[in-house]
Amino acid sequence: MTATVLDERLSTLRDAAREWGAEFRAAGAGLDLDPDAVGEHLGLAGVRALAAMLVPEEYGGAGLHLGAHRFHGMTAIERAVVLEELARGDAGLMLAGPGASMSGVLVDVLADRLQKEWFYGRLLERPTWTFFALTEPDRGSDATALETALSPSSEGGAHRLDGRKKYVGNAARAALGVVFARTGPGPLGVTAVLVDTADPGFHAEPLETLGLRAARICELTLENVAVPAERVLGRDRSPARRGMWACVQTFNRLRPGVAAIAVGIAAAAHDYVRTERDRLGHAERDRLDLLGRRIDGVRHLVQLSAIEVDADGSRGHLASAAKAEACRLAEEATLEACGFFGPRARWDHPVLDKLARDARGVEFMEGAGNIQKLTVFQGLVAGKIGRGDPFPAHGGKTLTGGSSCR
């Protein structure tokens, strides 16, 4: 049995998610060719699990029942466990499923009761996709530099939202989501709003991407979109507790999940070599074993970073390290796997070809590797990482959670 930082409860979740992920493999290949066919896969256990995650019990979420355990996906460690295994099946389909997804983390951090009732209520009506719009064409995912504007209405009614967003997954099939916008200059001028995609002025156009095609990554145009005051997230808080603070808290909690997806892609490449390449020579076995060790090591780091961020949402430097390393691993592992099948591996093995393309898609997700490294460095010089026990929450055995991540 492979060592793990997971307890029995989380191991149960991992084992179930591994079975769900196995079903994703065949479906994912088809979606790579026809992303709009995602609706045909809503009955898969993994897709239903994703839809059940990030909806708290107090808002009607049924959660996942596995033996004596119940999961709502409210903690970063639960999400990391599930996302890795589903991405190990197919990262594209994993990202293409309906559910609260990334928006759900922000809503959990920042929304008030009425906003949560609206958001979760919509999700519980039917399989509903959401989107999370931060990145802008000219500004990337630097929240401090965004330009999309949220302006008060001249008549005193709803706010107006104007701007462009890019690289937003599922936006063209989503019914609702969150948009980051600016109400004024500086970090206190950053805010986030809930948006109904049926509202006039909202337009999402899918982009043709190299990988993760099932996720239908889109460009958004927001032209005078009406945003009622009650859809402004954190409206009951001071600007200091809703703008960049909320961004940081949210991204810290999202980062282990993105890292876990990358680990899942790497593990899928490793799995493929193990199952499809027979008669490995001694040196090849050593190479494959080495890759397996590296995947194990990064997985441990990712899961421990999730446990730490669950214990303290401001402790995200570890997750930055994990994310940067996991994404590099995904690229290296998929290329390494190709090396076991010769120079035409990607021509002859569609699975490897897809994995190599998908791996590139996680590198920039939620901040590119070089940006994550700068965050790690800042944490080091600030004394928040690199000294003492890097995993105090795990050492204190406060890992498993199960309630809201706040």
């Binding site: 390290a321 490294k373 460095f377 690199g386 995993f391």
Partner: protein, 207 residues
Amino acid sequence: MTTISPPITATWLRCHDTARAEGMAPALAVLHAALPAGTSVFGAGGAAVRPAGPADRDGDVLVVRTAQLPGGAVVLVRTHRPASHPDPILTTGSVWLRLGLSGALLDTGLAYLGGRRSGDTTLLRRQMVQGAVAEALTGQLEVRAFLTAHDPAPPPEALSYLHRRLTETDRVLLRLLGAAGFTRGGAGEVADVSELLAGAYTPEAVA
């Protein structure tokens, strides 16, 4: 052979912390003190790294190198005594020790880079340098995560990987030190001896 049990974790941490704060020789002393009486400090290939001392003059021990390192001198020694599997305290402990040394190398690197001018700023303010520092720290965190997940001891077949990861990490930091990491007696030599320490205690079958 010693069986590793959970209380040994305190020894690992002491070994790690001593290596980072005081240096290789004191950390080796901590590690060797944890061995059952009479246990050989030699690895399977008959190689060992130990604090310099009277035992260097044992008749069947050949000192192949003496390194004057921060914290005290260490000797690299070989013996022709029949090889045996090194004690697991040595094999796992050497990973923790090297992780502590790698942390000390990071500390040294930060001090060096913070004081070294480059144009109108310091090397430490260069983003490429910051990225490399982060990469090295991440390598250390990955090794620590592996050891944490496999507490109290990783499987023998994983030791080679962990040592290799530490060597890669140290090399990233050494490149930041430039020629300052190439002189004897300093951080560069600690890293060099650390690599040789890995070679001494990595189990032969998986080396």
